[in-house]
Amino acid sequence: MILVPGRSQKQGTSLNKGKLKDEYLEVTTTAELNEQDMRRLKLSNGDKIRLKSDIGQTVVTCISKKEEDLPSGMIFIPYGPSSSQLMGSDTAASGMPMSKHMQVEVTKVKS
């Protein structure tokens, strides 16, 4: 699937409280998936999933988004320490790592 890290309002407000505080850590470890993909992967809101790229892996919580809001095959996450674990360092001579549209594999983490 394609992971799109980006900004969110809650991320913006919580970082003012502190990046090491629980609220910011929770915001940046909550990923949004299309409800169709959630069903296909047998996931429910609040389940833990492992996102794995060629670079690394991270465990986050998933919540569903309506199909018309988030296309199938796409995951959105407020960017932060979790998404950095998946990011490659090749900037293609631009200085900018490929920070959005990362290819990731999604698996459910059994509790």
């Binding site: 913006g12 090491l20 670079i55 796409m74 990011m87 001579a93 631009s94």
Partner: protein, 450 residues
Amino acid sequence: MPEAAKPKESKNIRIVKDATCTFCGCVCDDMELTVDLDAHRITKAKRACVLGRAWFYEHTLEDRPVVLIDGKEATLDEGLDEAARILVDAKFPITYGLSDCPCEAQRVAVDIMDTINGNIDTTTSVCHGPSGMAFQGVGESTATLGEIKNRADLVIYWGGNPAESHPRHFTRYAVTPKGMFIPNGKKDRTVVLVDVRKTPSTPVADIFMRVKPGKDFELLWALRALVKGKKISENIEEQTGVSREVLDDLVERMKNCQYGVLFMGMGLTMTRGRHFNSGAIYSLASDLNEFTHFVAKPVRGHGNVTGADNVVSWQTGYPFGVNFNRGYPRFNPGEFTTSDVLARGEADAAMIVASDPASNFPKKAIEHLEKIPVISMDVKETHTTRLSRVRFAVATYGINTGGTVYRMDDVPISLRPAFDSPFPTDQEVLEGIRQRVKKMLSGSKARVAA
């Protein structure tokens, strides 16, 4: 309002009019702050957006040591001495960040790196650095946000979500405000949003175009071709996710508006294509000037990231990713940008000012940052301060300090601080380091190219 931010009983209240919010690149300078001087906190921020309120209410005086060296409390002088020693001893020292401090501090950081033949880069390199590269390649048809507010009747946001990242961009500058030639505000404007997903910004748009991930360049190039009356692929919808009909309609609107603007977000610079995407959007705006007036502007993130571009440019000739190793400034994104110099393991000391690369950089870059001596300056604890050998807790710019910042449209704005802080400013710390670095190097042979 959070419980902690509710006004307490105090007679020692100060009102600061026309204060400036430095949380994001909008740099709104119409704030009216109510400050409880006894409690050292802002209790009301009139006209601030949700992000601005969090910025003003959450930046209070924290109980932190001013300086920590290897996790142990130290004096300011000891911290400055140790920071200067680290920088002078390094073979490839770097400075990074700078987008959340005033221009007066930024210029000192450039001078330090110039003095020690170091490497200076700002958060621009992982923000709109690609747009800066594109700007150098194809130029920029530009305007201030004031001009856009007063004239633009077609507003296109591409790859951004201002409702969540820059809430007042809509209400103060580009969508709802009434302007000199836009007397009815939003009713006189057409707003278009291009993104890979629906966001809270989408309801603001009259037209929403969902582009396939990584296909922005193809879509922009198709628009350029249509504007010039050229043929485009019959499979354009399959390639980009946007139908020919929608593209034709947008092209007509762009050619026939009175004044159009293309705002670009990091959906363009952080994805496949990077500076080519930004170049395509700049070129599209330039092409459209054959028919009407059209401009393109990046929507900038941090409060003074635009100031960092300006200061580094007027001091070195280049906006970011600048290396002084040979005794004169060289610019080369990919070579002298911080993510690269860290990921390749080249830097052997880092001074991080008002930024948190240990949170947001690629894994490999963070791993190298953990291995080298780091000097950090920040208003709060972050992942970067936590791994730093020397940590300076500093005052918050715009709340505790004055100075100059640049709005995202390159308009400089003076800051009006709300209350004093016992912590030093970024500028004071940097000046202390500069003084010591120059003293350590005086009398010895000037540093020469490695």
